[in-house]
């Protein structure tokens, strides 16, 4: 068993530098790596490119990095919940690349799996296809998309063991599994870190081989964006 545990978020983020590209898991505020994000804010790393489906809200998630203007460029699919984001984007302070959500997921998965490029129909005939190769398969046009390249992936799992094996919970799974192993270094924070053998090997969502560092997060706010009840 190869032990992937580190003792703290400080140790987990060793090696982050200005100008790097980060992947961050989560959909909306669900399943975001809260502890790693806080540490990124604290270290004040600058000019970073973030690949993340959303950009948080004004006072939580990636919104915290946006507020401090640490982000040079965002690669996302939906950013509608963040006023500061919109302001920085429309004023030109923030570079933004919007791409289809499924393409975002698959470009992560491609990086994880050593697939340099693939074809998808998503975005054909739209701005998204500009400058990309178009090719027909079965009479239907598709565009070629490339695997992402990133320096760090910050992932949040529910449970993990010391070997880096991960289990996610509910819809907090989202982009987290496909970002594991999709960057040079994958940093995972978990709600509960257990000993090897405590997780059923049949129900591990992501094997430890895709993870370089794992630590137990200190606290989780798990903020809900739209608390809707019946």
């Amino acid at each position: 068993m190869i032990n992937k545990t580190v003792n703290s978020v400080t140790e987990a983020l060793e090696g982050i530098k200005d100008g790097m590209t980060f992947m961050l898991g989560g959909f909306g505020l669900s399943g975001i790596p809260e502890n790693s994000i806080k540490e990124l804010v604290k270290r004040n790393v600058q000019d970073v490119t973030c690949i993340s489906n959303n950009a948080g809200v004004d006072d939580f998630g990636l919104g915290l990095l946006l507020k401090k203007k640490q982000i040079k460029k965002m690669i996302s699919s939906y950013v509608g919940e963040n006023a500061e984001f919109e302001r920085q984007m429309l004023s030109g302070e923030l570079e933004v690349e919007l791409i289809p959500q499924g393409t975002l997921a698959e470009r992560c998965r491609a990086a994880q799996n050593g697939i340099p490029a693939f074809y998808t129909p998503a975005g054909y005939g739209t701005e998204v296809a500009e400058g990309k190769e178009v090719r027909d398969f079965n009479g239907k046009p598709h565009i070629m998309e490339n695997a992402f390249e990133a320096d760090f992936a910050f992932v949040k799992a529910w449970k993990g063991d010391e070997a880096g094996n991960l289990i996610f919970k509910g819809t907090a799974r989202n982009f987290n599994p496909v970002m594991c192993g999709a960057a040079k270094i994958t940093v995972v924070e978990v709600e509960e870190l257990v000993k090897p053998g405590e997780l059923n090997p049949n129900f591990i969502h992501i094997p430890g081989i895709f993870v370089q560092r794992i630590f137990q997060g200190e606290t989780y706010e798990k903020r809900i964006e739209q608390r809707t009840t019946r």
Binding site: F27, G28, L29, S30, G31, N53, S76, S77, Y78, V79, G80, E81, E86, M89, L90, V96, L98, I99, P100, Q101, G102, T103, L104, A105, E106, C108, R109, T120, P121, A122, G123, Y124, G125, T126, E127, V128, W158, F168, K169, G170, T171, A172, R173, N174, F175, N176, P177, V178, H205, K222, R223, I224, E225, Q226, R227, T228, T229, R230
Partner: protein, 217 residues
Amino acid sequence: MLDKNGIAKRIAQEVQDGFYVNLGIGIPTLVANYVRDDIELEFQSENGILGMGPFPTEDEVDADLINAGKQTITALPGASFFDSSMSFGMIRGQHVDLTILGAMEVAQNGNIANWKIPGKMVKGMGGAMDLVGSAKNIIVAMMHTNKAGDSKLLKACSLPLTGVECVTKIVTNMAVLDIVDKKFRLLERAPGVSVEDIQKATEGDLIIEGDIPEMSI
């Protein structure tokens, strides 16, 4: 003239037995409330659940269980959770039978625009481009005209596109239409709405064949 719930009610009639259905944010979400309960169907939400149930009670609320609109939800028996790659595999692989989504504009060739107003509003496409790029069956739910009274059913979209020649049906507060030979074909009128009202509110070419029945909802 229908309200939002009326549009949802009418669209609910399009949902068939055995359908996996993806509902967009806004009016489409309301469709779930009006589907007949004598058919089998499952709702997919692209953030990673199949078998989505109703909103939770206060006790059931779980931050780790939301839909694509970031609303708290529940999971029905037989539900499953999965990652974003598999979720869009379901969509791209045409395993989802019906996609219902909103739009800012629809063109008579089936083009749709719903993610960006240059210089003003840029929320992003989310999963919409994947959905319209692959779905066999796409119903647009929207108001017939915008707040300024301008038609949203156009000869050509003026806003950046979400997808090309993909919309199969449109249900608005005034009418049900489908797309035939790159034109809108009027199928049904909303209660109290005349064919002339619809013609006036539709910028695109409109096919009107025979008597246009009123919707029964």
